[in-house]
């Protein structure tokens, strides 16, 4: 994981590459160490929820799956030490999770971890495409609004941002389906691939992209609205700083200054928010996946919630938090790449 995450920090333009890489690695190590108590906290919260639940841990782990095989039940009793005192149960639970033993999903008849990892790529794809859309649209709209402040365009951006910030994503998704799938027939109603269509090669990729458009819009426009607002005020703030005046005094045109000086600095608050919101993006995809029958973790969660398949629900919570932590570390590294001053600290 370390190698993959370090790559975005590798500076493409700066020659003192090695020292920056060292700084990036140091940051990475610090973040990974900080992640340990966070994960521990998530696991403890999970454990508390299990303890609060009506019924025993065992019933929870086998809920509504009619596990009556005494050998299986005995195995679970010893694995999770159900006759032990609570603190020892917690230790055993943590130990089990550390070995990625999230329990068994009797519904799919596979370990929970396998059930989740099958669905994770679809969710990550939806998250990445939504964040990309949100950043592209939000940043562009914010820049336009800040450059044409108090004009028609500025008003248009803020009105649109207000609406998309208030619209529930699942409702927006349904309305998009009504317009683009039911009325116009341009885009598929749901799913990730055409049933019976080509699943491999360029045709398969195009098919998935075709299915990706509406869910991406439904999930991404809410965040685009946030980024547009933040970007606008951040651009206006940075534009008043001294170094911008210096750049203008050097004789650069307004557009040149905006693109090469203001934009880069104004992006920082957007990146900060992006990191903070990673968890909400993942959670938002749960709802969107249910609207579009997108075969990701959200659909799995929804199925598991409806069938009281608790081990899967709890496993998704732990792994979801892990994804958020990893994404946050990536965002930190991007932040460092955008703002070299961090290196000094």
């Amino acid at each position: 994981m370390a190698g993959e995450l370090a790559s975005p920090a590798a500076p493409p333009r700066i020659t003192r590459g090695s020292s920056r890489r060292v700084a990036a690695l140091r940051l990475l190590r610090r973040r990974l160490i900080q992640a340990v108590p966070l994960m521990l906290g998530v696991v403890v919260i999970n454990f508390v929820l299990i303890q609060l639940a009506p019924g025993s841990f065992l019933e929870l782990m086998t809920a509504e799956n009619q596990v009556s095989d005494p050998a299986t039940i005995a195995l679970l009793r010893t694995t999770y030490g159900l006759d032990d005192p609570v603190w020892l149960q917690l230790v055993k639970y943590i130990w089990a999770l550390m070995r990625f033993d999230f329990g068994f999903s009797y519904r799919q008849n596979i370990p929970v971890i396998d059930a989740i990892s099958v669905h994770l790529p679809a969710t990550l794809l939806l998250m990445i495409s939504s964040i990309t859309l949100a950043l592209a649209v939000g940043v562009a709209a914010g820049v336009v609004a800040s450059m044409k402040v108090r004009t028609f365009w500025d008003t248009l951006v803020s009105v649109a941002a207000m609406f998309f910030f208030a619209a529930p994503s699942f409702w927006l998704g349904i309305m998009l389906i009504v317009l683009f799938s039911v009325k116009l027939g341009w885009l598929p109603v749901g799913g990730m691939a055409t049933i019976g269509g080509t699943s491999s090669g360029a045709g398969g990729v195009l098919d998935i992209l075709h299915h990706l458009i509406l869910p991406t819009l439904a999930l991404g426009l809410f965040y685009a609205a946030i980024y547009a607002r933040v970007m606008r005020s951040s651009m206006l703030e940075v534009a008043q700083l001294d170094f911008v005046r210096t750049a203008r005094a050097k004789g650069l045109s307004r557009n040149q200054v905006t693109i090469s000086h203001v934009l880069r600095n104004a992006l920082l608050p957007v990146v900060t928010i992006l990191g903070v919101q990673m968890g909400t993006v993942l959670a938002g995809s749960v709802v969107i996946e249910s609207v579009f029958s997108w075969p990701g973790v959200g659909s799995l969660l929804f199925d598991s919630v409806s069938s009281r398949n608790y081990p899967v629900v709890l496993g998704i919570m732990v792994l979801g938090s892990l994804v958020v932590i990893a994404a946050n570390i990536a965002v930190d590294l991007i932040y460092m790449w955008l703002d070299p001053r961090i290196e000094i600290r």
Binding site: A53, F165, A166, P168, V178, G279, T280, V286, Y310
Partner: protein, 279 residues
């Protein structure tokens, strides 16, 4: 005098004023729902799937079973607003409690509180709400508490920041010199001064809580006895090919309410920080 000035500043923000008026209308609607629509909103009163305007008796049409959409929207306003308000209250109580303790005492207490806030930001919020609701049961109380539990962190951070800047002011030192206890200083002296920005944030948390609740109900995990707007959208989902208005109307109601709450939050913010107004 100062209060009038504040109201004046708030009222000068046209968006905030419109938002406040509309929210007042929605709240009145929620309060007076039984007066306008004394019949149980979930009772079948007409033909199914009447489009809005098709029958003068049902201005917003009827749903798949022939229930009056307008009546369901008006009654649904009650559930939606109440859940939003209570969840925001839960979040505010937790957030102010944690933030005030962290900011006032500092040191390791602060460290622990902030790590806890980070922890609750890490867990994907809606997944957490769904997990709580599914394990502890889909009752109104559980949903409200669950939404409160995932929404308190921004309030805690804001309260903490206010406390940090206020705790060493002269008036607080004077209280300490007089031998006032910590609890009394926190509650009676610092808190009133720290509250205004926290209240703004709470109004935004109400909006967020309404969106949360609507998502939970939309997924069919809301309290089965409560017909909130989110559930109405979920109920209409099967009919988007023939009667998409059944989905559209409650969604518009959610959107308008959340929009107005956001406008009010913006207006309060501007009124509290007049210097930022012209940004």
């Amino acid at each position: 005098m100062q209060r009038f000035e504040f109201i004046g500043r708030f009222a000068r923000n046209r968006g905030a004023l419109i938002g406040a008026v509309l929210i007042l209308v929605v709240a009145l609607m929620a309060l007076l729902a039984p007066l306008f629509f004394p019949v149980d909103p979930l009772r079948i009163v007409g033909q199914p799937e009447l489009w809005p305007g098709e029958d003068a008796d049902f201005p917003l049409g009827t749903d798949s079973l022939g229930r009056d959409m307008l009546s369901m929207i008006v009654h649904g306003a009650r559930a939606t607003l109440l859940i939003g308000l209570f969840a925001s209250a839960v979040a505010t109580v937790i957030g102010v409690g944690v933030g005030a303790t962290a900011g006032y005492f500092g040191g390791w207490i602060d460290e622990i509180a902030m790590r806890a806030a980070e922890l609750f930001q890490t867990i994907p919020n809606l997944i957490f709400v769904l997990t709580i609701v599914v394990i502890l049961g889909s009752t109104l109380t559980n949903i409200v508490i669950a939404i409160g539990i995932v929404s308190w962190t921004p309030i805690a951070r804001m309260t903490r920041a206010e406390f940090l800047s206020l705790r060493d002011r002269e008036f607080v030192q004077a209280c300490r010199a007089m031998g006032m206890g910590d609890l009394k200083i926190i509650v009676a002296e610092i808190l009133p001064n720290a509250l205004p920005p926290v209240i703004v944030l709470s109004s935004l948390v109400v909006a967020g809580a309404i969106l949360f609740e609507s998502a939970v109900s939309f997924l069919g995990l809301g309290d089965p006895n409560v017909a909130s707007w989110g559930r109405l959208v979920g109920d209409g989902r099967q009919l988007i090919r023939s009667s998409w208005y059944i989905c559209a109307i409650p969604g518009v109601a959610i959107m308008i309410t959340v929009l107005c709450l956001n406008l009010i939050g913006d207006g309060l913010n501007d009124a509290l920080n007049p210097k930022l107004r012209d940004r």
